[in-house]
């Protein structure tokens, strides 16, 4: 048991437990990152420098970033409902997890695997070279199969993300006609929207432009800032 392990093991377990209890998905992702980075350190302490690097780059770097991207698309604020929809499920799940842990730990307790031999001899010519020797000799077929798997995954992701266009893209002329028709029917403003802060005292993005009669042009500020409690007061304050 190395010092690295002594430090990282409690951290990993605590972070993993955190994943179970935090409400927000982003927090869960960050806690998972903690676990993964700590795991990378454990790999390093176990004479696996290549896996250390891959763990950092692939897992923490690529996979977790992918998770975060998706979270941003789905909505950062999305969190679990508090109420459990399946009666008794949470208790049963916790119990089952506990039983699993107890059983597996009991099995580990039953075993006497002895001490680690260490990889000094295996890594003699360098860990990376030794792994490469294995990957491109005995495991070359599996390695090539993983390449096929990755390509398939990429194509699959594209297929899933693809959305078929059901009508032709509107041309610029059509867009212009649409705007003029909207103006003719409902008096929608033809020209570009006024920029925020025009003729106003400040040019901040949350300060509405002033119209010739001195009133606020509501469209000039981004839709997301409308009705924001903070902005409401800011608008008032900015025009005193």
């Amino acid at each position: 048991m190395t010092a690295t392990f002594v430090v990282t093991a409690p951290l990993m377990i605590l972070a993993a437990l955190g994943i179970l209890v935090v409400r927000k998905a982003v927090h869960a992702a960050l806690l998972l990152a903690v676990v993964m980075i700590n795991l990378a350190f454990v790999y390093a302490s176990l004479d696996a420098p290549f896996l250390f690097a891959v763990q950092i780059i692939v897992y923490t770097g690529a996979v977790l970033m992918l998770f975060l991207f998706v979270l941003m698309l789905v909505g950062v604020d999305v969190s679990d409902e508090v109420t459990e929809s399946i009666r008794g499920h949470k208790v049963a799940s916790l119990l089952m997890g506990l039983i699993l842990a107890v059983i597996v730990l009991a099995m580990i307790g039953q075993l006497s695997l002895g001490t680690m031999k260490g990889l000094a001899t295996a890594n003699a010519g360098g860990n990376l070279e030794a792994l490469a020797n294995l990957l491109f000799s005995r495991y070359v077929v599996a390695f090539e199969a993983t390449s096929a798997l990755l390509i398939t995954a990429a194509v699959g992701a594209m297929v899933l993300a693809h959305r078929e266009r059901t009508e032709p893209r509107s041309t610029q002329a059509e867009l212009a006609r649409e705007r003029v028709r909207a103006y003719g029917e409902s008096g929608l403003h033809l020209g570009p929207l006024p920029a925020p802060g025009t003729l106003a005292r400040h040019n901040a993005v949350d300060t509405p432009a002033l119209l010739p009669d001195g009133s606020h042009a509501k469209q000039s500020i981004p839709a997301g800032l409308h009705g924001h409690p903070k902005n409401g007061t800011a608008i008032e304050a900015n025009h005193d």
């Binding site: 454990v42 290549f50 996979v63 998706v70 409902e81 089952m96 730990l105 860990n127 792994l131």
Partner: protein, 100 residues
């Protein structure tokens, strides 16, 4: 010379936590994270065994697990996105129409 048992214990605990997370979390993305946690726990065991036996087979296997996990994440997240696009929800409980 270190004992392998603590590594295995940590691996088992992480795996159990991951399994429990899969069962009790309802956000599909978090469920997915828990699956990743279980894979990582398995990897820890593999790397530990590699060290225990003094050869690199375990590390190679762990590497393959990482590759497969990466591919799986790509597809899984794409599926989650597709479901979200049609149902405006990332809760796995919402997709529960196929039942008795």
């Amino acid at each position: 010379m270190t004992d392998v048992t603590p590594y295995l214990i940590v691996s088992a605990v992480l795996f159990s936590i991951g399994a429990t997370g899969v069962l009790i979390r309802r956000n599909a993305i978090v469920v997915f994270m828990c699956i990743e946690l279980m894979l990582n726990a398995a990897n820890l065991s593999l790397v530990s065994f590699s060290n225990l036996h003094g050869n690199l087979e375990g590390q190679v296997t762990a590497f393959f697990v990482m590759v497969v996990a990466a591919a799986e994440v790509v597809i899984g997240l794409a599926i989650i996105m597709t479901i979200f696009r049609s149902r405006r929800s990332a809760s796995i409980d919402d997709a529960s129409l196929l039942k008795w």
